[in-house]
């Protein structure tokens, strides 16, 4: 048991990042095709990160790199926890800790653009947290366990009983994947109102660490989506890929929205769909 867990943990630490990198490459090709461009090669994100590593790291102060390192470490820890089948609530809390480290890194620079980015990142965390927690509660109610391992081996498709929760997770996934219309805290392009928001003052290897952390994070999030379909692995994988394509599509057809809309819409969607879903199953599926 412990041996398989260690094996799982190691394979996530090694493979998770690589897979995340390919996902990012896939994302860029897909985006390009949607915009009628050819797009970069699949390996482009890896080239980018390698190039960033080569560059000299320019910082405003020494603390920044520390926070970013913590961000990366905690993201990997979160994913590891998830993929070894650990406690889902604990995983969500670890994800929060990781997010806060990134925010603190941005605060630390005391530069206006990064601080506004940091504030917006916190707003986004506030927007998505209820949906994630309620999703965990819903899965617990059905499977009677908070452990990812038990949820995966439950045997019946969770999507059938948790459709509302699933949609609310899709909604906040747009925030988590930093896609439009909810990419308030950073933007993939310079020259916008926030410059690069949260990541304005990061460069070189620090920026590379942030990129790699996102790869790990995205794989974990896709794992979360997979949980809803875990009873049939092939459908699960297909659904996960479809969800990602959908997120890229949404990214391309929406303009960025305000923080007020982000919080209000995610809380309302969570309230209307996830809460109703949870109340329904607790009333009818004792």
């Amino acid at each position: 048991m412990t041996m398989t867990k260690i094996a799982l943990a190691l394979s996530y630490v090694i493979v998770g990042g690589v897979l995340g990198g390919f996902l990012a490459g896939f994302d860029r090709i897909l985006t390009a095709r949607m915009q009628g461009r050819k797009g970069p090669p699949l390996m482009q994100p890896f080239f980018d990160v390698l190039k960033l590593m080569e560059k000299r790291t320019v910082v405003v102060n020494n603390h920044q790199t520390f926070y970013v390192a913590c961000f990366l470490i905690f993201i990997v820890l979160t994913g590891t926890l998830f993929f070894v089948g650990g406690d889902l609530l604990l995983t969500i809390f670890a994800l929060t800790v990781a997010g806060i480290f990134l925010v603190l890194g941005a605060f630390s620079s005391n530069s206006p653009f990064s601080i506004i980015g940091a504030e917006r990142e916190l707003l986004q965390m506030m927007a998505y947290e209820p949906a994630l927690l309620i999703a965990a509660l819903g899965m617990y109610w059905i499977t009677k366990s908070f452990h990812v391992s038990d949820i995966v081996s439950y045997g019946h498709p969770l999507i059938a009983v948790l459709p509302g929760i699933f949609i609310s997770v899709l909604f906040i996934l747009t925030i988590k994947l930093r896609k439009s219309p909810f990419d308030l805290s950073t933007s993939h392009h310079g020259h916008q109102e926030l410059v690069k928001g949260l990541t304005t003052e990061f460069s070189g290897s620090s920026l590379a660490m942030i990129e790699v952390a996102h790869w790990y994070e995205n794989i974990m999030l896709m794992g979360f989506v997979y949980l809803f379909f875990a009873s049939t692995p092939i459908i699960g994988i297909a659904a996960t890929i479809l969800v990602y394509i959908l997120e890229v599509l949404v990214d391309n057809i929406y303009a960025r929205l305000t923080w007020q809309f982000t919080i209000a819409s995610s809380w309302i969607v969570t309230g209307a769909l996830a809460v109703t879903n949870l109340m329904a199953i607790t009333l009818f599926l004792k």
Partner: protein, 629 residues
């Protein structure tokens, strides 16, 4: 029994001494000696009884009964006398005092009061409370030594009544020990009212108009709660099918017999813990000197309210009234967490967060299942530590930088590194995994989803703003401004000792909490419910790993090679003098100023306070309607 009488009676000795001595050296010696004795005795009480089954002590002493009766009358007379300062709007206060005193005197003279078999008791919950009072309470007293000296140096306009301050402080400690160790509800109620008096006196300390009004509001609302307690005693004596005024017998009577008095007592608990709709008094109480906020209004006195509600949990379990009570807590948690987002005054943020966490404890206690009570007790412990620490830190920071506004605490980590680190530990302790409060919240979520999903949803929504307002505060402290310079003004040694001795346990309890749970909480739970929960080893390992990382990674960075190139922050290329100022559009040099988001248009007090108060009133009314029908 010796330890119990020592804990209740001994604090009166330093109280009286400190009331007459104004020499600072003598005061230091008295406070230190009596604090150390209280710490020693409360620990020895714990070592003697911890983990065991509840023990009861009978006291056959007519004189003692007369003394308590006399004390009650004196208390009411003193409060009536203090009513000379009330305004027309506050004229309900004397009415409440007379009503309460009337019920008290009537009960005593009627001769119908049920006979009390055991007047005092010790169980694991009261030991936990006694340790909180005995250790955190006395640490705050030591802190107050340095604080009050500086306080009067900063506020020369306020009349120096440090003697009265320390008298009340130790009187309060005595009363708190009484509240958690008394099995005789009449006596417990007497101590309860003494804490109300202490709080009233302390809030009015500065004698400003605002302080006076706030102190009367606190008095009025707590007396209203106290009236609930009086009515419970009245009910238990005259109307109950199983008359008793003993706490343990009341709890064992079960929901069928004891629900009405239990709800009345919980009403008093709600007022004391400043739950909606009573929350305004605790916010007003922030005008008091900071050690008072730490001791009375976050670590101990407000905990008396949740303590008594936790005690009632077995009665409330599986009742609609209990769920409605839990709803009061849940609504309070959600609303005050949102309200805290809109505050930039550090003490108000702490006050709102205190009310929120007490709300969470009430939620768990109202649900009343063994899992929920387990989580509630864990919350009590961690909150007392971390919040006490935070209040004290804010107090010291205020004296050093001259402001308690979070916006003025920018770069605190550079300006005053010790205070910055201590404050970070306190904040992390409040909301970050794997620190104490987060562990408790996690336990709460698990307990609530099993008992009542709607309460778990309130918790899920309420914890989101919590992370927002704590993180932006943390960010403020950690931001490194190029203008920031280290401040050369040492922290008073008493204050530094107090801060360190709260900060270290805040971290240690994360490592030791499985031990605390198995030694103190689980015996209490299993003695009442016959079953208990124990933690899964896997999760404990993970939390230890997380804590290890949070502590070790910073150490690793001491040896990190510093080859990085330093530049100034990006200001769209218009930087002037580094990144401290920039060249504005009209060619004017402007300073860079970063401020946090407060979202007052969405979560401001003007918007949320009134709806929350109404929700609170509705739920409490619902609770009584359900009980009485």
């Amino acid at each position: 029994m010796n330890q119990i009488s020592f804990l209740i009676l001994f604090p009166l000795v330093p109280a009286l001494l400190l009331a007459v001595i104004s020499n600072q050296t003598f005061r230091n010696v008295i406070v230190w000696v009596s604090s150390l004795s209280l710490i020693f005795v409360s620990i020895s009480l714990a070592t003697a009884h911890l983990g065991g089954s509840p023990e009861f002590f009978s006291v056959e002493s007519p004189i003692l009964e007369k003394l308590f009766f006399g004390g009650e009358i004196l208390l009411s007379l003193y409060l009536l006398w203090r009513c000379k300062g009330i305004t027309k709007k506050e004229s309900y206060i004397p009415v409440l005092i007379i009503l309460q005193a009337g019920i008290g005197i009537f009960l005593e003279l009627s001769g119908k009061l049920p006979k009390v078999e055991n007047a005092f008791y010790v169980d694991n919950l009261s030991i936990i409370m006694a340790l909180i009072i005995g250790i955190i309470g006395t640490i705050i007293c030591i802190y107050a030594l340095g604080y009050m000296k500086e306080y009067h140096e900063h506020h020369t306009e306020i009349k120096n009544n440090t003697r009265g301050f320390f008298f009340i402080f130790f009187l309060f400690l005595s009363a708190m020990f009484g509240v958690v160790l008394c099995n005789n509800l009449v006596w417990l109620f007497f101590f309860w009212e003494v804490t109300t008096l202490c709080s009233f006196w302390m809030i009015g300390y500065s004698k400003t108009e605002e302080a006076k009004r706030n102190s009367y509001r606190a008095l009025g609302l707590n007396l209203l709660g106290g009236l609930g307690f009086s009515l419970a005693l009245f009910y238990l004596t005259f109307l109950s099918k199983a008359p008793t005024i003993e706490l343990d017998k009341l709890i064992h009577a079960g929901s069928l017999l004891a629900l009405i008095p239990a709800c009345l007592i919980c009403f008093a608990g709600l007022a004391k813990s400043a739950q909606m709709p009573f929350s305004s008094w605790l916010l007003g109480a922030m005008v008091a000197p900071t050690p008072v906020s730490a001791l009375l209004h976050s670590s101990t006195m407000v905990k008396a309210g949740v303590f008594i509600i936790i005690k009632m949990a077995p009665v409330l379990q599986h009742t609609t009234a209990g769920l409605l009570l839990a709803g009061v807590g849940g609504v309070t948690f959600l609303m005050t967490s949102l309200l805290a987002v809109s505050q930039s005054n550090a003490k108000r943020v702490l006050a709102y967060s205190t009310i929120a966490n007490l709300g969470l404890i009430v939620t768990c206690a109202g649900v009343g299942t063994y899992e929920a009570v387990w989580a509630a007790i864990l919350l009590v412990i961690f909150h007392a530590l971390a919040k006490g620490l935070l209040f004290l830190t804010v107090g010291t920071v205020e004296h050093k930088i001259g402001s308690r506004d979070i916006e003025d605490m920018g770069s605190l980590i550079i300006v005053k590194p010790f205070l910055g680190i201590v404050m970070l530990i306190g904040i992390a302790g409040m909301f970050l995994a794997p620190f104490g409060m987060l562990i408790s919240k996690w336990a709460c979520l698990k307990a609530l989803i099993d008992a009542s999903p709607i309460l778990a949803i309130l918790l899920a929504y309420g914890s989101a703003p919590t992370l927002f307002f704590w993180s932006k505060w943390m960010g403020k402290i950690l931001s490194v401004s190029s203008k920031a310079k280290a401040l050369d003004s040492p922290v008073d040694s008493n204050e530094a000792i107090a801060l360190s001795s709260l900060a270290i346990p805040t971290i240690l309890t994360c490592l030791l909490f499985p031990l605390i749970a198995s030694v103190a909480i689980e015996p209490y739970i299993s003695s009442i419910y016959g079953q208990t929960i124990s933690l899964s080893q896997g999760n404990l390992t993970i939390m230890t790993i997380m804590l290890g990382l949070i502590i070790l990674v910073p150490l690793g960075f001491i040896f990190y090679p510093r080859k990085q190139k330093h530049v100034f922050g990006y200001l769209s290329g218009a930087n002037v003098s580094g990144s401290a100022s920039f060249l504005g559009a009209m060619g004017v040099v402007k300073d860079v100023a970063n401020r946090n988001y407060y979202l007052s248009s969405a979560f401001g007090e003007a918007k949320l306070t009134i709806p929350s108060v109404f929700l609170g009133i509705a739920l409490i009314t619902g609770m009584f309607v359900v009980v009485l029908l």
